[in-house]
C-alpha cells in the first residue's frame, strides 16, 4: 500500500513561563492512501498538537517542532518554507476543527468563506468558484445551495455548519484531511450523519483521513487503523480489529473496558483512575506506570521498546518481555495455590 504520510520521531515542545511542556515526545506513524486512521487518547495527550504539527500550525512561539520528520509525498514538511507550506495548506492537506460554531467567521457569508480557499490557490474567476462552491455544498448535503451561499453562519444549525466546514476543507480536493474531533460538539443523531458523510466523501474523492477523537463509537464506525496516544507518545497502534479485539497495552484495555458496548455513541474516554503525568517533566520510563495495575520496577526506569505483534500491530509495554510473562505466570500460579 502506498504511504501518503509518514511521521518520524516527532517532538513538539511549548516553552511556557512554568517550563517547557513536552507535548509530543517521539511519535511515529504513517497513513496509507485512502484509509482512515483514528488517533485516540485522553484529553491533553497530544492529539491536536500532532495534527497541528502536520499542518505546521503550531503557534510559534511558544510551540516548536523540536525534532523529527513529517514526510508527505516524499517531502519533509518540517523543512518547507512558510510560503511553500501555505501553498500546501487547504490544497493538499486540509483540516477541520472541533467546534463548527466557531470555525466559521460570523461576519462573512458562507459563500465568501467557501470560495476564498479556492480563489487563493487557483487562478479562477469568482463565478467559476461559485459553481464549485455550489457543487461542494451539494456534495455535503446542503439543500438549495445557491441561495444559502449568501447567508451567514448563524443562519445554519450546528450540523449544517459542520457540513459547510467539511465542504470548505474539501473544495480544493486535498489528498489528506485531518479532522480534529469533528463530531464532539454535535448531538448524537447529527454525529451519525456527519460520520456517514465522511464515508461518502471518502468514497467519492478517495481522500485519506486522520480522525482525532475521544469517542470509541466513532472509531468503531469508520476507522481502518487506530493509533492510541498517551502522554505525548503512541503506546499502541494496530488495525481496528487488532486494537478492539486483541488490545495488548493495559491503557488500551482500560479504555475499552470503559465502554460497555462498542456501538455506543458518545462515550467519553475518562475511565481509568488517576491522571496522566505532568508533561513539564515526563517520567523516564513508561508514562502509564502510576496508573497501571501491572506496573513493575522496570517500568519506572526504562521506556519499553516497541514490540511488533504483527505487520500492523505494535505496542510499547514491558509486559511483552519474556521475563514479565514469566513473572505473570508465577504470580498467577501463587494466587491459584491460595
Amino acid at each position: 500500500m502506498e504511504k501518503i504520510l509518514e511521521v518520524k520521531d516527532l517532538h513538539v515542545t511549548f516553552s511556557t513561563y512554568g517550563g517547557t511542556v513536552k507535548a509530543v515526545r517521539g511519535v511515529n506513524f504513517h497513513l496509507n492512501k485512502g484509509e482512515t486512521l483514528a488517533i485516540v487518547g485522553e484529553s491533553g495527550c497530544g492529539k491536536s498538537v500532532t495534527s497541528n504539527a502536520i499542518m505546521r500550525l503550531i503557534p510559534d512561539p511558544p510551540g516548536k517542532i523540536s525534532k523529527g520528520e513529517i514526510i508527505f509525498r516524499g517531502k519533509d514538511l518540517t523543512k518547507l518554507s512558510e510560503k511553500k507550506m501555505r501553498g500546501l495548506r487547504g490544497v493538499d492537506i486540509s483540516m477541520i476543527f472541533q467546534d463548527p460554531m466557531t470555525a466559521l467567521n460570523p461576519t462573512l457569508t458562507i459563500g465568501t468563506q467557501l470560495k476564498e480557499g479556492l480563489q487563493q490557490h487557483r487562478k479562477i474567476s469568482s463565478d467559476a468558484a461559485e459553481v464549485k462552491a455550489i457543487e461542494m455544498m451539494d456534495l455535503v448535503g446542503i439543500p438549495s445551495p445557491k441561495e444559502r451561499l449568501k447567508q451567514y453562519p448563524h443562519q445554519f444549525s450546528g450540523g449544517m455548519r459542520q457540513r459547510i466546514v467539511i465542504a470548505m476543507a474539501l473544495i480544493c480536493e486535498p489528498e489528506l484531511l485531518i479532522a480534529d474531533e469533528p463530531t464532539t460538539a454535535l448531538d448524537v443523531t447529527i454525529q451519525a450523519q456527519i460520520l456517514e458523510l465522511f464515508e461518502k466523501i471518502q468514497e467519492v474523492t478517495g481522500v485519506s483521513i486522520i480522525l482525532i477523537t475521544h469517542d470509541l463509537g466513532v472509531v468503531a464506525k469508520i476507522a481502518d487503523r487506530i493509533v492510541v496516544m498517551y502522554a505525548g507518545k503512541i503506546i499502541e497502534v494496530g488495525t481496528k480489529r487488532e486494537v478492539f479485539y486483541q488490545p495488548e497495552h493495559p491503557y488500551t484495555k482500560g479504555l475499552l473496558n470503559s465502554v460497555p458496548r462498542l456501538d455506543l455513541q458518545g462515550e467519553k474516554l475518562t475511565p481509568i483512575d488517576g491522571t496522566p503525568p505532568d508533561l513539564f517533566s515526563p517520567p523516564a520510563g513508561c508514562p502509564f506506570t502510576a496508573r497501571c495495575p501491572f506496573a513493575m520496577e522496570v517500568c519506572d526506569k526504562v521506556y519499553p521498546t516497541g514490540t511488533t505483534l504483527s505487520e500492523t500491530h505494535q505496542v510499547d509495554c514491558w509486559l511483552q518481555d519474556d521475563r514479565a510473562k514469566r513473572l505473570l505466570a508465577t504470580t498467577a500460579a501463587t494466587t491459584a495455590e491460595k
Binding site: 517521539g26 491522571t275 502510576a290 513493575m296 526504562v302 510499547d316 518481555d321
Partner: protein, 318 residues
C-alpha cells in the same frame, strides 16, 4: 517491517537487569506526586502577579502612598489650611520640600492631605459599588427569568445616562462636599459592577447545572470551590481595582470644576485648579506635585488592575 514505536528506549531490552521484573509496590502517594503539583489558584495568581514588574511597582507605590496619606500630614509641622501670605510661592527648599502655594501653604502637607481625599473617595466608591453591584447583580443572575430581564432593562437604561453630567447635576443641587461626591459617584457607578456580577453568577449556575447533569457526584462542591469561585472572583476584583482610579479621576475632575472639596481643604483637583494661573508665572511646583501624584496614583491602580487581570484570568496563562 518492524516499526519501533518508542524512541527513548536507547537501552536494548537485553541490558535491562532481570531483577527489575518485579511488581512495583503500589502506593497511592506516588500516583499523586506524579500529577502536576497543583498550587492553589490564589498562590498561582500571586506568583504571576509578583512576576509582573509594573504591577508590583504600582502596588509598592500605593502602599507608600497609603502610608504617607495617613502619616504625612501628621509628620509635617505645617497646617493644611492656615495661610501664610508673606511666604507665598516659595520654591521647594529644606523648609518646604514641595514649596508653598499662592496662599503660602505648604504643598508637601497639602499633597498628602489630598492623597487622603483621593484614596478615601476611590476606596469608598469601590466599596459601595461592590456592595450594590453584588446585591443587584446577584439577585438578577440568581433569580433569572422575569426578574432578571426587568433588572437588566433598568441597567440598560441607566447605562445610557451620561454619568458625569448626572453627577454634576446632583452636586449642583446637593452642594459640594466629600459625602455628596461619593454619593453622586456611586449613584451611577454601580451599574458596571452589577453587570459583571450577574454574568459571573450565571456562569456559576450554568456550571452547577452542567456538573449535576453529568453526575460527577461528590466532586461538585470541590470543583466549584477550587476552580469556579476563584475564576468568577477574578473579573470582580479587576473591576474593583479599576473603579478606584476612575473615582479618583472623577473627584479631581469635579474639584477642578469647583464642584468638589472646597478650599481651603486640599484635594489634588483643588490644588491643580488653584495653580492654573501660577504655571504661567513659572511657579511650576504648585501644579507639578498634585499633577504628578494624581497621575501616578491612577497609573498605579491601572497597572495593578492590568496585572491582576492577567494573573487571575486562567485563559491568559502563558
Amino acid at each position: 517491517m518492524k516499526i519501533r514505536i518508542g524512541t527513548e528506549a536507547s537501552q536494548s531490552t537485553d541490558q535491562v537487569p532481570d531483577d527489575w521484573f518485579n511488581w512495583k509496590k503500589k502506593d497511592k502517594e506516588e500516583a499523586e506526586s506524579v500529577a502536576r503539583p497543583s498550587m492553589s489558584y490564589w498562590q498561582d495568581a500571586w506568583k504571576r502577579l509578583i512576576k509582573n514588574k509594573l504591577a508590583m511597582l504600582g502596588l509598592i507605590f500605593l502602599i507608600l502612598l497609603g502610608f504617607m496619606a495617613i502619616f504625612g500630614p501628621i509628620l509635617s509641622p505645617y497646617s493644611v489650611k492656615i495661610q501664610d501670605l508673606p511666604n507665598q510661592y516659595q520654591p521647594p527648599s529644606s523648609d518646604h520640600w514641595f514649596g508653598t502655594d499662592s496662599h503660602g501653604r505648604d504643598v508637601f502637607t497639602r499633597t498628602w492631605y489630598g492623597a487622603r481625599i483621593s484614596l478615601f473617595v476611590g476606596l469608598m466608591a469601590a466599596l459601595i459599588d461592590f456592595t450594590i453591584g453584588i446585591v443587584y447583580g446577584g439577585i438578577s443572575g440568581y433569580k433569572g427569568g422575569r426578574t432578571d430581564s426587568i433588572l437588566m432593562r433598568i441597567i440598560e437604561i441607566l447605562y445610557g445616562l451620561p454619568y458625569l453630567l448626572v453627577v454634576i447635576l446632583l452636586l449642583v443641587v446637593m452642594g459640594p462636599s466629600l459625602t455628596t461626591i461619593i454619593v453622586a459617584l456611586t449613584v451611577t457607578g454601580w451599574v458596571g459592577m452589577a453587570r459583571i456580577v450577574r454574568g459571573q453568577v450565571l456562569q456559576i449556575k450554568n456550571y452547577e447545572f452542567v456538573l449535576a447533569s453529568k453526575s460527577f457526584g461528590t466532586k461538585t462542591p470541590r470543583i466549584i470551590r477550587k476552580n469556579l469561585l476563584p475564576n468568577t472572583m477574578g473579573p470582580i476584583i479587576v473591576q474593583l481595582t479599576l473603579t478606584v482610579p476612575s473615582a479618583i479621576f472623577a473627584e479631581a475632575f469635579l474639584s477642578f470644576l469647583g464642584l468638589g472639596i472646597q478650599a481651603p481643604h486640599a484635594s489634588w483637583g483643588v490644588m491643580a485648579n488653584d495653580s492654573l494661573g501660577a504655571i504661567l508665572s513659572g511657579n511650576w511646583w504648585t501644579l507639578f506635585f498634585p499633577a504628578f501624584f494624581i497621575s501616578f496614583t491612577m497609573f498605579a491602580f491601572n497597572v495593578l488592575g492590568d496585572g491582576l487581570q492577567d494573573a487571575l484570568d486562567p485563559k491568559l496563562r502563558k
